[in-house]
Structures are given as C-alpha cells and as structure tokens.
C-alpha cells in the first residue's frame, strides 16, 4: 500500500481531530453543565485509534484507546467530568499531538505508559460493556472553519499541497515577466494587431494571477485556533484569570503570510499574559475585574490585514523603558519621554531585552525585537499603543499576499529598486535642502538612497522623492529617478549575511534583470 499517501492522510486527519478536541474540551471546561461533547470527542479519538492502528503506530493507537475508554466511562456514568478528568483528557490530546507530530517528522512515536496509566486509573473499565455512542447526540452548531467545513456539504474543498500552488505562482510569475516584455515590444506599435493581442493577454494573465492568489488564501482562524488552549494553560501556570476574545477568524491571508504569523502572535500573546496582565489580586486592588482580557482580532483594510493583540493589563512603563534605554546608551539622559512609536523603536532594538531587570516594572519588552523583525520580513509593519493601567495594544499590519506586489520602480546609481505600493503615500519632485525634504511646508524625516547605498554625492536641490508611510508618520526617500509602476513577483530568497535590513526581497524585471525590493520602514 502507498504508505506516504496514507501517512499524509493520517496526519491531516489527526491534526484536524485533535484541534477539534481542544476546542470541544475548552468549551466543556467553560460550561460543564451544557450538553457535553462526549460523543464527538469520542469519535475523534476513535478515528485516530483506527488509522494509527492501520499504520502500525501502536503507541498512538494505545493512547487513543485509553482516552476513548475514559470517555466511555463518562458517558456510562461511571466517571464524571471533573477537573482531574478534563486535565487528563487535555494531556491525552497533547500526547496524541506529540505522537502525530513525531510521525510527521518521520520519527517513531514514543509510548506514553504513564499517561495511559493515568487515563486507565480514571476509567473504571467494564470490558464486556463496550457500546456504541448514542446515535441521537446533537451536533454542535458551530463548526470549525477551514478543512472541516466540507463535511457539512456547505462547500466542496480540495486539499492541495502548498508546493503545487507555489509552483503555479512561480509559473504565473514567469508568465507576467513575459507579458511585460511583450507589452514593452507592443508599446511602440499603438493600434497594431500585436498591441491588441498583447493587451488581451495582459488582461487574461491578471485574471489568472488573482485567481491563483485567491486559491492561496486561508482564514486566520487556522492560526488563531491554537491560542485558546495556550492561553488557558498559561493562565493556570501563571495563576491568572485570563479570557481570550477572538474575532475576525474568517479574514483571509496568503498561506505563506499565515504560516509565518504563528510564532510572532504566540510571542505577543505570551507577553500579554505574562507581563501585560496583572495578577488577579492586583487587578482587584486597582478596581479592575479579576479576569484579565486579551483580545486577538483580524480586520481587513484595503490591501492590508490588521491583526490586533490587545490586553487590558498594566500598560508599558515608559519611564522604565526610557531609563533602560538610557542605561544602554540608546537614548540621551536628557531626552524626552518617548511616544508610542519611539517606544516601539526602542523595544525593537535587537537584544533590547528587559527580562531580568525591568520586565516586572515595564510590563513588556521580552523579545519584541524578534517579533518586529518577523513582521518586517513578511512585508508588514507594527504599531504600539499603551496606556498606563489600561493596557497595551500591538497592531500588526500585514500584506494580504507577498507573492506578487505592485511596486514603484526607482533608479539609484546604476540599479533599479522596487518600492511596494503598500507603503507608498506619494511620489514627485521636491525641494531638498540639507538632506531634508519639506512636504507642503512641513519637513519630514528623509533618507537619501544614495547614502544608504554608499554611493555618496547626495545632491541638494530638486530631487525625485518617494513619500512612504512609516507607522503613523510620513517619511521621504530621495532617489535618482522615478521609473513607473510594475507588478513584481517577490522571489523568496535567503538573504546573504550582511545584506541591509531594508532589503525586503528580490524580483526579476521585464527585461530579465534582477532588482531588490525595498522595505523603507527599516530606513527610519
């Protein structure tokens, strides 16, 4: 039999089941009195037992069997769903997850005799009485979004390996390059047959491109859904009462963005739970509800998706962060109190960890630099809002896709560079004096790309300028010339060591030459 194919099925199936188990157990734990999801959890364990046994994965099958029996005991009234039992079931899900992921890595799953013993001890077994689950059991009305949705018949889905979609995007990327070259040829022959065919092909390729990009989209719920369980466990470990509010799970992002989002969000949520939220007693003293709230929300705005991580905790202690920055020589001792953007800039300095010394006072600061770096690498940007005693909010502005972006091409020295439209505010020729551009009477932070590229000779006078949005502010980039707009296919490449942080990627231009894609936010 085709082992690889069955293993792949086993993996995707089991992951769905375990995710669903986590959701059901959490709901069960929150409202123990409601119509319990015993039947559905039972079937999930049962299904994993069956497929793992078929693949000869005995450790997984045995664990699933033990968990299944505990549920049977609950259903038959021989055990009640107390805290101890729910904890054991959560552990069983974890154990199965470990087993499944081991298989995913190509390792042999390890046996979990202690856990199986725990489950068995909780399930007074009556071996002769193994009966079917009640057939009249009600289905929960809320369904997990994503993969399972097809079971309803509400939509028909096909599981596609991301590599195949990547290959398609790659193909379309090359097609676009060819289209652009054709368009360049046809440009000289307005009204000719060549020009007509070229423009028809342009339209078709665009349609094809957006179709393929749509096929790569997946709902953020796929990332969000792992967090309720994580926050629950964190709350217990930290001795805090935490409620996690999720919304906007149906907002879609490109698979590649989505896949890279899990770690940064985990980081921010951990920070919020650990450092942002106060212990229940402190909250009560401050006149706040004992239960802290963390909100995780996704919203679509134009060609961006904004993911918000907000807590109603103590907020960041600006003075402490400022002092830390002064101690580390990042700020002058007499400098003003940083605003929100300045605060984020300080927190995102590589290695600006406040772990041991200040984190208790500051409320934050652990590893925000890593998060900022990841979000930038995704072509996104971050924003911070914090109010003492009221809480802290991180906003992650993400591009909907990073496979193909519309960009402004500029020239500096002998090279051409692409600036994504996502960050673009305007472009034009402006007066520059003393290396600073004045926009409608207001001087804005300015960077000369000639300096950034060590070309030297930044000239004053009237210069082509690209104005970009950096956080809440505008900033100006001086270039040598503006070349026009272009859809560019972002080539994923491992950045060579030493490449400046403002290089966000690379692309191939219509004439076949490579160009770097700029991430202007990193220049300011």
């Amino acid at each position: 039999m085709d082992l690889a194919r069955y293993t792949a099925l086993f993996l995707s199936d089991s992951r769905d089941h375990l995710q669903r188990c986590n959701e059901l157990l959490l709901a069960w734990e929150r409202s123990p009195g409601s119509s319990t999801p015993v039947g559905e959890i039972f079937r999930a364990f049962h299904s994993i037992k069956g497929s793992s046994a078929a693949l000869g994965l005995d450790p997984v099958a045995e664990l699933a069997h033990a968990a299944e029996q505990l549920l049977e005991a609950i259903r038959d009234g021989n055990q009640s769903a107390g805290r101890e039992v729910l904890d054991a079931l959560f552990l069983a899900v974890d154990g199965l997850e470990e087993g499944v992921e081991a298989v995913g890595r190509g390792d042999a799953p390890r046996a979990a005799p202690a856990l199986i013993e725990t489950l068995r001890a909780l399930a007074p077994v009556m071996p002769s009485r193994t009966a079917e689950m009640p057939v009249t059991e009600r289905r929960l009305t809320e369904r997990p979004s994503g993969a399972n949705a097809s079971a309803d018949g509400s939509g028909r889905h096909v599981r596609v390996d991301l590599l195949r979609l990547d290959a398609l995007v790659q193909g379309i990327g090359e097609l676009m390059v060819a289209r652009n070259r054709l368009a360049a040829l046809a440009d000289g022959e307005i009204g000719s047959e060549l020009e007509q065919v070229s423009s028809r092909i342009s339209g078709l390729v665009s349609t094809l491109q957006s179709g393929v990009l749509r096929a790569r989209m997946a709902p953020v719920a796929e990332v969000f859904q792992r967090f309720p369980r994580m926050i629950r466990d964190l709350g217990r470990d930290l001795g805090k009462e935490i409620r996690l509010d999720l919304s906007g799970g149906d907002i879609e992002l490109d698979r590649s963005v989505l896949d890279a989002l899990g770690d940064p969000l985990t980081h921010l949520l951990r920070n919020a739970a650990d450092h942002g939220l106060e212990p229940p007693a402190d909250r009560a003293r401050a006149g706040k509800p004992r239960e802290g709230v963390i909100r995780l929300r996704a919203e679509r705005a134009r060609d961006e998706v904004t993911v918000t991580v907000a807590d109603d905790g103590r907020g960041i202690d600006r003075a402490a962060v400022r002092q830390h920055a002064v101690d580390r020589g990042l700020l002058e001792a007499e400098s003003a109190m940083p605003d929100a953007a300045g605060l984020l800039r300080l927190l995102s300095q590589p290695g600006f960890t406040m772990k041991r010394d200040v984190s208790r006072v500051s409320g934050r600061g652990v590893g925000v630099d890593a998060v900022v770096a990841r979000i930038r690498a995704l072509g996104g940007r971050m924003e911070l809002k914090t109010v003492p005693g009221r809480g802290t909010t991180f906003l992650l502005h993400l591009p909907v896709t990073r496979a193909i972006v519309r960009a402004l091409l500029v020239q500096v020295g002998d090279e051409r560079y692409a600036i994504p439209f996502g960050v673009l505010a305007e472009a034009g020729v402006h007066e520059a004096s003393k290396g600073e551009v004045t926009l409608r009477g207001v001087p804005v932070p300015t960077a000369d790309l000639r300096d950034a590229l060590w070309l030297g000779g930044g000239r004053s006078g009237r210069r082509p300028v690209v104005v970009v949005n950096v956080g809440d502010h505008r900033a100006a980039l001086m270039v040598d010339s503006l070349l026009g707009q272009q859809d560019v296919v972002v080539e994923q490449f491992a950045a060579p060591a030493g490449l400046p942080t403002w290089v966000g990627g690379a692309t191939i231009l219509p004439d076949g030459t490579p160009a770097l894609i700029l991430d202007p936010a990193a220049l300011f």
Binding site: M1, D13, F42, H46, G50, H65, S128, T130, E137
Partner: protein, 120 residues
C-alpha cells in the same frame, strides 16, 4: 462487470484505504458515506451490491444504519468494520442484519476474503 460497493466510515483515512483495497481487486466503489444517515440515503440511491459499514459514526451509528438499510432491502449485504474491543457491538450488528465483520486494523486479504464470501 465488477460488483458495486458503498463504503461507509466517518474517517476519510479508512474510506480511502477500503476503497483502495476494493478497487485494486476489481470492485467498483460507487459511493462513500461519512455518517449513518448518509449511508442509508446513499444505499437507497445507489443500490450497491455490498456495503462496508463502520460502527462508530456521527448522526446515526453504523448499527442503526444497518437496521434502516435492512428495512429497505432485507437481503442487503453489509460487512461491518469494527475496531478492537467492540465484539459486543458486532454481535448486535449481526442481529440487526449485517452479514459478516472484519476487525480494524485489517489486512487487505482479510477484507477481500469477506467480500468475496458475501458476494458469492
């Protein structure tokens, strides 16, 4: 002409596996069902020569589905697929009208043997 089969199991993994085993042996899998209710509905619609039936399924369990199918056709040939430790249920299924059973995890040869026996 190959005999037609309806494969009922809530796990896509199991459906795929059973379908592969049967298809490779020359049977025609004309449909799949992932719940008892679906199994009954598809049986009515497809009138397959044989049904493989899982015991634990949502909406309507396998045994209930066997009862319903036997109301439609008392001669229906149904092969139960049960997991280890469900012997009591297998007996119940046979009483309800199932003709034979195989135990998961199963050997392909064991499944084919049972199918051949049922289809005579």
């Amino acid at each position: 002409m190959g005999h037609t089969v309806l494969v009922c199991d809530d796990a896509i993994f199991m459906r795929t596996m059973i379908t592969d085993i049967l298809t490779q042996a020359g049977y025609e899998v004309v449909g799949e069902a992932e719940s008892g209710a679906q199994a009954v509905e598809r049986y009515r619609a497809l009138k397959p020569d044989l049904v493989t039936m899982d015991i634990v399924m949502p909406d309507m369990g396998g045994i209930e589905a066997v009862r319903e199918i036997c109301k439609v056709n008392p001669e229906a040939k149904i092969l139960m697929c049960s997991a280890m430790g469900q012997q009591a249920l297998v007996v119940e299924a046979i009483q309800a009208g199932a003709k034979d059973f195989v135990v998961k995890p199963f050997q392909p040869s064991r499944v084919l043997e049972a199918v051949q026996r049922l289809l005579g």
